[in-house]
Symmetry: C2
């Protein structure tokens, strides 16, 4: 497909976009959804800036990585901006997800409504605990961790979630990578390593708690 | 205590500091801990900027809200910077935390190692499910949600965590606020309202997944 097949196409050279830009795009998208939920149809970059705490010049610069969008002075059409941002983030397709860890956190994640609503579907879980293996969590089958590569040879899922204790996290990541997973969300409170070409996001639940702590201190 | 009692004292007028600054301070603190874990003793603002993706001028400006810190040209002493940031964030005290929701996510959070390591201790949990009430989760007692105000009249805990389904989140927040809680971490995938004077942080597990999605799209 040539670059001219679709005028809304996202440019191919995405790997040049800095990671903080991607994180801000996610914040803009969240903001646009909230504005639309509130019944909004258009918004200026200043309004989005105020909501997200990211300044308007930065917003325009971040969007400019992906070609022109919006007309100066008219504000953004929120429906079009949501579609544009969703396409940039690759959210215009459904994605299957593998879960390692069928403990309390794994169970919570397998039924987390937020994932399904955004097109992420946990299709299989893996654990080393033989008491958990074989007993499905809701609609999600639980396999022995040693079966990960075999199961994913058919599924060809590229996204994995790690929900195991800190000491088991590195092993879980290695098992996912060996099975062909290229993007991993890690909930274990430990830094993990992955080979180049594999993206890992560490979800640090404590950092949000620390930000809360600031507001207690300052009152 | 006057402003001169302690030269490291954080200025009182903290309410003027913008929220994005507080979020960046959390990122700097995380970065400093990682550098120290790797054996580092000092770092330039340029190094911290490179790691966090936040530019060095912004780092210096953010720190400047809290008085002078560091000497130009010498880089930061990482131990001192960690202590300074921890004090700013109010992390130099231990904090008790109330948990609403004793389901899978609540159970996972009550044993999440990351919280304890940073001085946050879940001391009591609350649920509406009579089968969960009375059965402790590890060392954490589980009370009926209707007992929240009574229990906290003694505990006087100011921090709460909401780990209930979306439909029950607003009610959980109201129960916490009525019991005197002023800072709430919300894990339910829904936006909740709190009166002014109460800080709510929404933990959106999906936004991290969406950022991962970008990296799959762009490969």
């Amino acid at each position: 497909m040539s670059a001219h097949d679709d005028e809304n196409k996202v440019p191919a050279a995405l790997f040049k976009v800095p990671q903080p830009t991607i994180e801000r795009l996610s914040a803009y998208l969240q903001c646009v959804r909230t504005l639309r939920d509130e019944g909004g149809e258009t918004a200026s970059s200043a309004e989005i800036a105020k909501r997200t705490g990211i300044n308007a010049a930065q917003l325009r610069k971040d969007l400019s990585y992906f070609g022109e969008f919006g007309k100066p002075g008219l504000g953004y059409d929120l429906r079009a901006l949501e579609a544009h941002l969703s396409r940039i983030m690759g959210l215009d397709v459904e994605r299957d997800v593998l879960l390692v860890g069928a403990g309390n956190l794994g169970r919570a994640l397998s039924s987390y409504a937020g994932f399904g609503r955004r097109g992420f579907r946990i299709v299989a879980a893996f654990d080393i605990d033989t008491e958990k293996v074989g007993a499905a969590m809701g609609a999600v089958p639980v396999y022995d961790l040693t079966q990960l590569s075999r199961v994913n040879a058919e599924m060809k899922t590229e996204v994995g979630v790690v929900a195991v204790p800190a000491g088991a996290a590195q092993g879980a990541v290695e098992a996912l990578v060996a099975a062909g997973v290229r993007a991993i969300l890690n909930f274990a409170p430990v830094s993990i390593k992955a080979p180049s070409g594999v993206t890992v996001r560490n979800v640090d639940l404590t950092s949000q708690m620390e930000i809360l702590s600031y507001y207690l201190r300052s009152k």
